[in-house]
């Protein structure tokens, strides 16, 4: 089992859960530790219950894990909800002035902090948070200077007085813990690498910058808003035009206008906004204008659960807009991949002049991960495809939708003399002239339809094939797509430790799917299970419709929270024992 340490901090929204989270994340990543952070919260600005889990360790931390080592409840509610999750060796740090512990497992260290004795709480309302951070780091075996440094940075925009006050509070908590509490059995190690810590939304925004995105448009919608925030904040440094538009219909159409003018244009939304964009996607496909749309899935339908995760938009993406048209759809596997995928999908969209859809979800969008900064390559290959940018050469009368073998017709950057043309939403001929009026030319319509759809062949060849990870002759093969990659990876490790050999197939490109390659990879699999975060098994249904493949079983979760590794492990065990072929794990924490 990989070494890891998980801290859970919870309280009402507005109680300041985020700051301790940021401080822990910085302390861990600067120690050269990996981390994964996930915040469970609700659509409320004050009150409710927010619970942040930060898991750290010397090896890659791909998910939030199964257990907590340290619980920091900022209110009684958090104590009551989460204390029972601590096992032997775990500890709870709390303000003993206002919070009482309850029933707990044997071997849990109960660590009351007498906050009013250690701090002037009339002056500092969040004193308990800072005291607890100090105490926690003492118990984790982290030297105080590391914390002092991070605090100074965290409050750098405030006056020196504020910094000093926080450092003193942290010191008081640190010393109190050193004197009164037992340190954890496993002191946090240190490595030489320094990691960047970022959310999936920031990663996708930066991936956009790396891809050469010059135009970004959006309308706020959780959990995609982080992309807009990152873009807006960095627009001037990165020379990117960022527009907040009146609605998602405007968002996608503005992106299409900018893309047609010749820049790379991107937008992000969630399921509801995407629904409004779908007609625009058809326009991009029909007019052959490449754009990239990110969908950060949240639990639906309708407004659904705005702050909870789900993989429930797959069929919306597959069927977005009417008519048949070429599109590409890819789901990033983790937060680092959120960055990497954007330049890749732009190259495909540009080369084949069609819309590209990135199917992310709240788990990745709002989660945070440590990433080796070397993985954040701002200079990946940029392939704009066949784009005419100069009229220096003699040319035949330009035909925007020239019928070609590949289905791709060279595009031109508007503004160039000698290449004027009209791009059209109505069906058109090679010239862009509408063929839908007066009488419909069936021959031309068929030729145009086939020209556009031919692009799918090229797309299929341009996109990498899926790969099976793990031992070839495994007892069980887990199939997942997108964000379940991390948790499935750890579940496989746990299964192996339990004597069940497991491998997995993470699907990243959904369209094109490479069905034959998948069938080939699965042909010798002994027991296949499809794992996904939705009710109806959207991917399972899709895979079956494309390949006729039917797995042995399914693991699904649609309660709003992501999988934990043990959910998958237990489900696999019950399925291998023949108890069921559909497992729906229960999420044990009410968050």
């Amino acid at each position: 089992m990989r070494q890891s340490f998980a801290v859970g901090i919870g309280g009402a929204a507005g109680q300041g859960v985020a700051t301790p989270g940021d401080i822990f994340a910085k302390v861990f990543s600067r120690r050269g530790l990996h981390l994964n952070a996930y915040n469970a919260y609700q659509s409320i600005i004050r009150g409710g219950h927010t619970f942040l889990t930060i898991r750290t360790g010397p090896e890659k931390i791909t998910n939030m894990g199964d257990r907590l080592d340290l619980l920091i409840p900022l209110n009684q509610d958090t104590m009551d909800r989460h204390l029972h999750l601590l096992g032997a060796g775990g500890a709870v740090l709390y303000n003993s002035d206002s919070i009482k512990p309850g029933e707990h497992a044997d071997g849990v260290q109960i660590c009351p902090i007498p906050v009013s004795q250690l701090a002037d709480i009339s002056k500092n309302k969040v004193a308990q948070n800072t005291l607890a951070i100090g105490a926690a780091l003492s118990m984790m075996g982290v030297g105080f200077p590391a914390l002092e440094h991070v605090l100074a940075e965290q409050f750098r925009k405030k006056e020196q007085k504020v910094i000093d006050e926080n450092v003193n509070l942290a010191r008081a908590g640190y010393d109190y813990a050193t004197q009164h509490f037992k340190p954890f059995a496993w002191p946090l190690p240190m490595t030489e690498t320094k990691y960047a810590v970022l959310s999936g939304n920031a990663a996708m925004a930066m991936g956009g910058v790396a891809a050469g995105v010059k135009f970004y448009s959006a309308y706020p919608m959780s959990p995609s808003t982080g992309v807009l925030h990152w873009m807006a904040e960095h627009a001037r440094k990165g020379n990117i035009m960022v527009r907040q538009v009146e609605d998602e219909i405007g968002v996608v159409n503005m992106a299409i206008g900018a893309a047609h003018a010749g820049v790379r244009a991107m937008c992000a939304t969630s399921g509801g906004g995407f629904a409004l964009m779908s007609e625009g996607l058809g326009l991009a496909a029909q007019a052959e204008i490449p754009i990239v749309v990110i969908d950060c899935q949240r639990a639906g339908p309708s407004t659904g659960v705005p702050t909870k995760t789900e993989q429930g938009d797959l069929w919306q993406m597959l069927g977005a807009a009417f008519g048949d048209y070429p599109r590409v759809i890819a789901a990033p596997l983790d937060i680092a991949d959120c960055f990497k995928l954007i330049p890749e999908i732009f190259n495909v969209a540009d080369k084949f002049q069609c819309p590209g859809i990135v199917l992310c979800d709240l788990l990745l969008s709002e989660g945070r991960l440590s990433v080796d900064p070397k993985e954040l390559d701002f200079y990946p290959e940029i392939d704009r495809g066949e784009l005419i940018t100069s009229n220096g050469v003699e040319h035949e009368p330009y035909k925007r939708y020239k019928i070609t073998e590949s289905g791709v017709s060279p595009r031109v950057v508007p503004g160039l003399p000698g290449y004027t043309h009209t791009v059209s939403s109505d069906e058109h001929d090679e010239d862009g002239i509408l063929i839908s009026d007066e009488y419909t030319n069936t021959t031309k319509r068929r030729a145009m339809m086939e020209k556009r759809m031919r692009k799918m062949e090229g797309i299929e060849a341009a996109v990498p094939l899926p790969q099976l990870v793990g031992p070839a002759n495994a007892d069980v093969t887990l199939i997942g797509w997108g964000s379940t990659y991390g948790v499935i990876e750890e579940a496989c490790e746990q299964l192996r430790e339990a004597g069940i050999s497991a491998n997995y197939l993470p699907v990243r490109w959904l369209v094109p799917l490479h069905g034959d390659a998948i069938l080939d990879l699965l042909k010798n699999a002994k027991h296949t299970i499809i794992v996904e975060n939705n009710y109806s098994g959207q991917f399972a249904r899709y895979l079956r419709s494309e390949t006729s493949f039917v797995p042995n079983g399914y693991i699904r979760k649609y309660d709003g929270e992501p999988f934990m590794p043990h959910h998958i492990v237990e489900a696999v065990k019950e399925q291998l024992a023949g108890e069921t072929n559909l497992s729906v794990p229960t999420h044990e924490i009410m968050v």
Binding site: H234, A258, G280, A287, T389, T420
Partner: protein, 298 residues
């Protein structure tokens, strides 16, 4: 990015002649709008490759196909959004947006309002025929109260919107009304609109001879009165413009209601465009900026 190696030559009407002849009904008001736009572009000597003509869907929205420029035929109601994106990416080009009353004030109403408040530097020509032409004659947002159409055969019980007052209220910086039959006047308005730095809106009476039996050329002709003929009319006075915009009946004003030039355009307010049109900018960021972005995460 794009490089023009051709020697400049005088702009002639020939270069704006579309690849196909318009397929509007004989006598449709839209012919007059097309002719006026072509004339205005020649008179302003703007070469066709520097013009983008962007439309939505409708009879009037087939316009880009009938004039040789960089055209875009988009979705019903979405022309202004597309055009805003286009203009932001290449503000060096002259952007004309053409469409109908249904397209602009019905399905596209939200974009209309927001494009005006943003003062996007483009010229928006609505061929207002008070009807849905392409879909064979249903009530439009500018159809008069009581007007009988296929969709409201017993007469509309909904009052029309007033595009001119709406534009004035939404902060449009150039607001005008034209009449397809008043060619010279319309051409002049279009020229001024194109030259205006900011959002320019011209609501053009462009009768649908097939489906609108109420608002015909004959109906409009005696009613339209040019604001320009009133020597005291001051188009910089917003309140008077608003007052005039409310006139409807025996006298319907046409001409330039309002213009102000002191509001910055959207592209002019974007420091990101200081280095020139977005499309010609480098799509790589300098290494020190990339390093800064990563350092923030460390």
């Amino acid at each position: 990015m794009a490089t023009d190696v051709a020697a400049p030559k005088a702009v002639t009407a020939a270069e704006f002649k579309g690849r196909v002849d318009p397929d509007w009904c004989p006598g449709c008001g839209d012919y007059g709008v097309l002719a006026a736009v072509q004339k205005a572009l020649v008179e302003l000597q703007i070469p066709n490759h520097q013009v983008a003509t962007i439309s939505g869907i409708g009879c009037s929205s087939n316009f880009p196909g009938f004039i040789e420029t960089y055209g875009m035929h988009t979705l019903h109601g979405r022309s202004l959004a597309v055009a805003t994106g286009f203009k932001m990416a290449n503000h060096g080009m002259t952007v004309l947006v053409t469409g109908g009353d249904g397209d602009g004030f019905g399905i596209g109403g939200n974009h209309f309002m927001h494009t005006m408040r943003r003062n996007v530097d483009l010229t928006y020509l609505v061929m207002d025929n008070q009807i849905y032409g392409l879909t064979t004659g249903q009530t439009s947002p500018t159809s008069r109260l009581g007007m009988k159409t296929k969709s409201m055969p017993f007469g509309s019980v909904e009052g029309p919107i007033n595009p001119i007052s709406l534009a004035l209220a939404a902060g449009a910086t150039f607001v005008a009304r034209g009449f397809s039959a008043e060619q010279k006047h319309l051409t002049e308005l279009i020229k001024q609109a194109i030259e205006h730095k900011g959002f320019s809106f011209i609501d053009v009476f462009s009768p649908c001879v097939t489906y609108n039996k109420d608002n015909t050329f004959q109906w409009f002709r005696p009613r339209v009165k040019k604001l320009e003929e009133n020597s005291g009319y001051d188009p910089s006075d917003w309140s008077t413009a608003m007052e005039k915009s409310l006139l409807w009946g025996d006298e319907i004003p046409i001409g330039k209601f309002f213009e102000r030039t002191d509001v910055p355009t959207l592209h002019g307010s974007e420091p990101v465009l200081n280095q020139g049109p977005l499309v010609y900018q480098d799509n790589r960021i300098p290494p020190e900026i990339a390093k800064g972005f990563i350092d923030e995460l460390m």
